[in-house]
């Protein structure tokens, strides 16, 4: 009996982690990450000579539930085409029978890494507005993300934003496109997690908890799956906004901005923004010094905001008036 060397064992272990791409037009180029039910690899599409990301199921799946979930995720993604949502290119099976889908390989940084860089608050808030766009689009197509958080948002080198990981997405209303997914997999679905291992492929059972603590709406944390609507994602967007607006030590979050965060993250879903566009619009209003829904203001508040917004003009007019008064009162002898 001969023993394998450590080097050989390491090589075998490495090979076992690589997907078997024989019979596909893809060539392995590296590992990108690993999620709840699948691993994501960087592969090269030899037909188009481009790099794409391949998500492959990497858990035993005797029931076929996980396979159905992965396919469903791919179909959901395929139905919500938007510049801010990572596009699916291909779907199929590997030689070993595992299901995969390929998607655009996103080069960039995760939002949590990007936010740590020297970006100003205004830059971070402008980027937040961009995050709201694909989410609003998905909502308009009847799809909830349900796991919005900084690691699931990629920021490209030119400031473009891509919302990733729609693995726990829920279809709340089948539109023409989403009909494909909902016909095949009739109910709202999500990939498995420790908490919902009993639920089927196409169904997230009531009481199941999916999402990330801190970014998950209270009703989502309570497992009220049937009650979830777009306002659950609004809560998560509010949590992302809170993360992006986190003040430096010794500073305070501006009152109007804090009011936006509070409204987006209201415990009662009814008190939140009605849509992601409404939230984005309030953030844009905050940045531009315009009135916002979350912070009703009286006469003095409005006057103060207008003065702050037009500070230079106000200073010039005041300078003019002061100069005029001085000239009226001053009489050269």
């Amino acid at each position: 009996m001969s023993w394998l060397s450590d080097e050989a064992v390491a090589r075998l272990r490495h090979s076992a982690n690589e997907p078997d791409l024989s019979g596909t037009p893809y060539r392995f180029a590296g590992a990108l990450g690993r999620g709840g039910m699948g691993a994501v690899f960087l592969v090269e599409d030899s037909r188009l000579a481009r790099r794409v990301a391949m998500k492959v199921l990497d858990l035993p799946d005797r029931s076929g539930d996980l396979e159905a979930r992965l396919l469903r995720e791919a179909r959901v993604l395929a139905q919500i085409e938007h510049p801010g949502i990572v596009p699916v290119h291909d779907v199929g099976s590997l030689a070993d029978g595992r299901v995969f889908y390929t998607m655009k390989y996103v080069e960039g940084r995760r939002l949590d890494e990007w936010a740590g860089s020297a970006a100003s608050l205004a830059e971070r808030l402008r980027l937040f507005e961009k995050i709201c766009e694909p989410v609003a689009f998905a909502h308009s197509r009847g799809v909830l993300h349900r796991d919005l958080k900084p690691p699931n948002v990629m920021v490209g080198p030119f400031g473009e934003v891509l919302v990733m990981d729609w693995g726990v997405a829920k279809i709340i209303r089948a539109t023409t496109g989403a009909q494909v997914a909902s016909t095949q997999f009739p109910d709202a679905a999500a990939p498995p997690s420790a908490s919902d291992s009993k639920s089927g492929a196409g169904d997230t059972a009531h009481g199941s908890v999916l999402g990330t603590p801190g970014f998950m709406a209270p009703e989502q944390a309570r497992g009220e799956v049937a009650q979830l609507d777009s306002r659950a994602d609004i809560y998560s967007l509010g949590a992302i906004l809170k993360f992006l607006a986190a003040p430096a030590a010794g500073e305070k979050t501006p009152r109007r901005l804090a009011a936006i965060i509070t409204k987006a993250m209201a415990q009662d879903a009814q008190s939140r923004y009605a849509s992601a566009q409404e939230l984005a619009s309030d953030v844009a209003g905050y940045l531009d010094g315009l009135p916002i829904i979350a912070y009703p203001e009286g006469f003095f508040g409005r006057a103060g905001r207008l003065i702050a917004r037009n500070r230079a003009a106000v200073v010039l007019v005041l300078a003019y008036l002061v100069m005029r008064i001085v000239l009226i009162l001053w009489r050269p002898r």
Binding site: A312, A313, L316, M323, L327
Partner: protein, 119 residues
């Protein structure tokens, strides 16, 4: 409304206001109407020039400097035309310069409806 029209209106309005302040100077109160008309024409000319500049050059600093220069130059012309030994250079050029400065600032900040932009 484009920047030239905006400058014209703003310059004209500020010119009227500027001229009306002559009311508080008893020595020239009798000539108030002429002063208001002259001041308005001066404001309109300054506004058009500054608005034209703002359309060509997109720079707040240069716009303000140009406005100040035009305001001072036109006010100098008005002051030098004053009859008598006292030309009131200071009293005429200081407000003229500030009015030009305000119009320069405003025309640079003003965005016409066809080209919206965020501040």
């Amino acid at each position: 409304m484009n920047k030239i029209v905006f400058g014209l209106i703003l310059g004209g309005v500020l010119g009227i206001f500027d001229g009306l302040t002559a009311y508080f100077t008893p020595e020239v109160r009798a000539a108030l109407v002429g002063i208001v008309i002259g001041s308005t024409v001066k404001g309109i000319i300054a506004g058009v020039l500054i608005g034209w500049f703002a359309r060509k050059v997109n720079s707040l600093a240069l716009g303000i400097a140009f406005g100040l220069g035009v305001g001072l130059l036109l006010a100098f012309g008005v002051a030098s035309m004053q009859p008598g030994p006292n030309h009131f250079y200071f009293q005429i050029m200081l407000p003229g310069g500030i009015v030009g400065l305000i119009v320069g600032y405003a025309t640079q900040k003003y965005q016409s409806a066809s080209a919206p932009a965020r501040a």
